[in-house]
Symmetry: C2
Subunit: 183 residues, 2 copies
Amino acid sequence: MSEYRDPSRAKVEEAKDKVIGAIAETMDLYGVTPAAANLYATMYFKDQMTLDEMREELEMSKPSMSTSVRKLQENAMVKKTYTRGSRKHTYAAEKNFFRSFMVFYCQMWEREVKMNMEAIEEAQSDLQDVLNDDSSSTETLDEARKTYDQLEDSKTYYRWLQDLVENIQSGEIFEFLPKEKHE
Amino acid sequence: MSEYRDPSRAKVEEAKDKVIGAIAETMDLYGVTPAAANLYATMYFKDQMTLDEMREELEMSKPSMSTSVRKLQENAMVKKTYTRGSRKHTYAAEKNFFRSFMVFYCQMWEREVKMNMEAIEEAQSDLQDVLNDDSSSTETLDEARKTYDQLEDSKTYYRWLQDLVENIQSGEIFEFLPKEKHE
DNA sequence: AAAAATGTTAAATAAATTTTTAACAAACTT
DNA sequence: AAGTTTGTTAAAAATTTATTTAACATTTTT
């Protein structure tokens, strides 16, 4: 190989590795496995990769690469690419961090809103029953009222979060917070 | 106890439990342990709690509660409260989800920006050296240039993320995305 | 000062997650 | 059609993370 004739080559790889390390380290805070984090960071500097290339580059098993790629696809951080002539599947990293941000957080927040809003609606309905029930003690009625109001109040947050999701998905947020600051 | 005379009492607790379950379930996606997630969700419906009350309510060990509380304090999801006369420490859940959102994500994003920006700056400096080095092969120069530009481009995202953090922390974001929608 | 209560740290255990090896299924070549 | 290549599923092993038990330090009460 040319590394011996060209010491700069190694320096370029070293530079990439610094960024790969940083990306991977912040990524496993995002709920992906170390394998998936390293894989994404590696792919970030490649045009596209096959499973065998991944296995070779990361020195890990093929099923691990297969699983990691699938997980990354769920978060839209990796896309399958069509490569004519090649029997092997090829994958490319999403290099636009804005898109990754959008998919990842919107997915996460929508799940949170849906789940909690559903629970809140059910709970409030139960509490309403209690409030309409004459046999309830004063103490219980107070508790039911207080809880009902607390839940009602929390809905403001979930509606806001849903709103944030929609603003991000539509791109409207960039009107308020532009990608490039024009000075 | 009064549960036997007042069936509504049980219904109120059941209603709370539905929400506790939902909150806890979405929370462990936020990188907190199940114990911490359950604890926060439980505290959400309490005024304040001591470690012993937590242990009793969740039926878990005291060190587990102690650790969980500390973790939740780091994310500003729980605050220590002063209770005169009580020797036991008391803690209260942050009930304002907007504040929890702010602290949690801003902390996370700032860490991401800092870490990746530092790596990028270092990498770009290395790549600049390569570009200034006459001994580098054409192939290596192209690779260095391409990588440098890719990193330069990614900085747009990190600057935007930092901007988002600042807008959330200052509350400016609520001018664009109001908490309450006035119709 | 001794005993008791409270909270934390450290070591050990338990549980869950991640990764690998091995077996399998599907698609393509010859 | 038999044999390869490629990718996935399933079971096992390894690693990591979470929780508990036990020991300790600190403060308070008697």
